[in-house]
Amino acid sequence: MSAPSPQSYTADEMMTVAAARRLRGGSCFVGIGLPSLAANLARRTHAPDLVLIYESGTIGAKPDLPPLSIGDGVLAETADSVVSVPEIFNYWLQPGRIDVGFLGAAQIDRYANINTTVIGPYDDPKVRLPGAGGAPEIAASCGEVTVIVRQSPRAFVDRVDFVTSVGFGSGPGDRERLGLRGRGPRTVITDLGILEPDPVTCELVLTHLHPGVTLERARAATGWELAAAPGLRETEPPADHELAALRALTGGHRS
């Protein structure tokens, strides 16, 4: 839960709205939690035809409220099609049929590699996290990847403790060398701003600050020397209709 903001919306609400805006249409392979909330918000606002795909095999799910799990009954009941788990990964994800992969992260590094496996050494972890799930192949095979994660020095590290899902590996050319066919992470949306990979170095740089957030604060929340992109801009604050739709999804509570 983020600290109350002086605005009429919270930092988490700003983050979710900013993430939803990045989903324009097409198909989206949705991770649970923050990605699922933002994807459902996009479908409720500007992208009603967005095809939501969950790894439980539900294609074109249209839940009224964001599900708690990726396999809640409402996803199957409202889906265009329900397929088995081998099929969703082999026939739908693997060939690159899905436009956007939408992921969360416990740790993310300057090359947008994601860790959801362990904090600390693998064989003697400080924190054992849930692990990979569908993420490695989502990050590899979707046309592009959007990441939503709260920004802090613990989460934004110079190098992840464990590469669960590849962003740009150790820099330019790595995705091609590894045979990863999607374009990789294009946008990382946080509660402070938006980061995008530099077109030459692939390093994540700050392209937007949310209203009221300073560059110094974003830098203090980042474990590498965070660069600001030329033309760093302020994110458009949430519109009333976006906030209303989001609060309808979260049960009226400020998330």
Binding site: I32, G33, E55, S56, G57, T58, P67, L68, S69, I70, G71, D72, G73, L75, A76, E77, V82, S84, V85, P86, F89, N90, L93, Q94, T117, Y122, P125, K126, V127, R128, L129, P130, G131, A132, G133, G134, A135, P136, E137, A140, S141, F162, V163, T164, S165, V166, G169, D174, R175, L178, G179, L180, R181
Partner: protein
């Protein structure tokens, strides 16, 4: 042909100390009643296989039934950590737990290979991640036709697969629908199998999107109404999301976990089927 017998008898026949056991069900149709019966029968040294360990493996691990866990995502969906799983990995309580860790795509394909009678599966997966460095069952493989480098995982052929389904007939033919996960693959890959069902009926009515497992590929069927709770059986129950959220506090602490298991699985009033 599958025999329809009581759950306790089926588990006693099929699950032995040291076996590899896959209780599958992707969020939906998770065979909780069968998992609880394994705990009551005090099985030890199991290799537990499951894509999403969920609360049922948190319980089996916390009760000391497992020596090894093969999995791809070990969390409480939408809630957070599996605390018993974490405690076993981080602090070796109640016993050390070996882990063999995959991605969902990897395990799904390993079951499909197992069901297909193949020694391994090939996929576009794991490339560039740190998983192959820690999981011996992930290896690169070169396509003999194109020269492209891909990834291989060995087939999973569990000693026993256990799944839950909506219904079966008296000959042990099983019907399940909704999110069907990897249940078909797990049953066909396994040496022995148990399907628990919400109800045994005289005749299976067709249902849209249903998977039918004929009785001749199943060892035992057991009636276990409500046997997927707090997961669910589409058409019979809904996911008990409140319980999934409550489990976080129950399982966080060893004492409260053991007290809950005693009350609800081992000896208490609620433990009696």
């Amino acid at each position: 042909m599958a025999t329809v017998i009581p759950l306790a008898e089926a588990v006693a026949n099929l699950v032995h100390d040291g076996d590899s056991v896959a209780l599958e069900g992707f969020t939906h149709l998770i065979p909780y009643a069968a998992g609880h019966e394994i705990i009551r029968q005090g099985r030890r040294d199991l290799t537990l296989i499951r894509m999403t360990p969920d609360l049922i493996y948190d319980q089996l691990v916390g009760m000391g039934c497992a020596r090894r866990l093969v999995f791809s995502w070990g969390g409480n969906p939408g809630v957070g950590s599996l605390h018993r799983f974490r405690d076993a990995v981080q602090n070796h309580w109640p016993a050390p737990l070996e882990v063999e860790e995959h991605s969902h795509a990897g395990i799904a394909n390993a079951y499909a290979a197992g069901a297909s009678g193949l020694p391994f599966a090939v996929l576009r997966g794991y490339r560039g991640t740190d998983l192959p460095a820690h999981t011996a069952t992930v290896k690169p493989i070169t396509c003999p036709f194109t020269g492209e480098e891909l990834t291989a995982v060995p087939a999973i052929n569990p000693d026993v697969a256990i799944v839950h389904a909506q219904r079966a007939d008296r000959h042990g033919n099983v019907q399940l629908w909704g999110i069907t996960g990897v249940q078909k693959e797990a049953v066909l890959a396994a040496r022995r199998s148990l399907v628990t069902v919400e109800e045994v009926v005289d005749e299976l009515e067709p249902h849209p999107g249903a998977v039918t497992l004929p009785g001749w590929v199943i060892t035992h069927v057991s009636e276990a109404p409500g046997g997927s709770h707090p997961s669910y059986s589409a058409g019979y129950s809904v996911r008990d999301n409140d319980f999934y959220q409550a489990w976080d506090a129950i399982a966080r602490d060893r004492e409260s976990f053991l007290a809950w298991m005693d009350e609800h699985v081992l000896t208490g009033e609620a433990a009696r089927p």
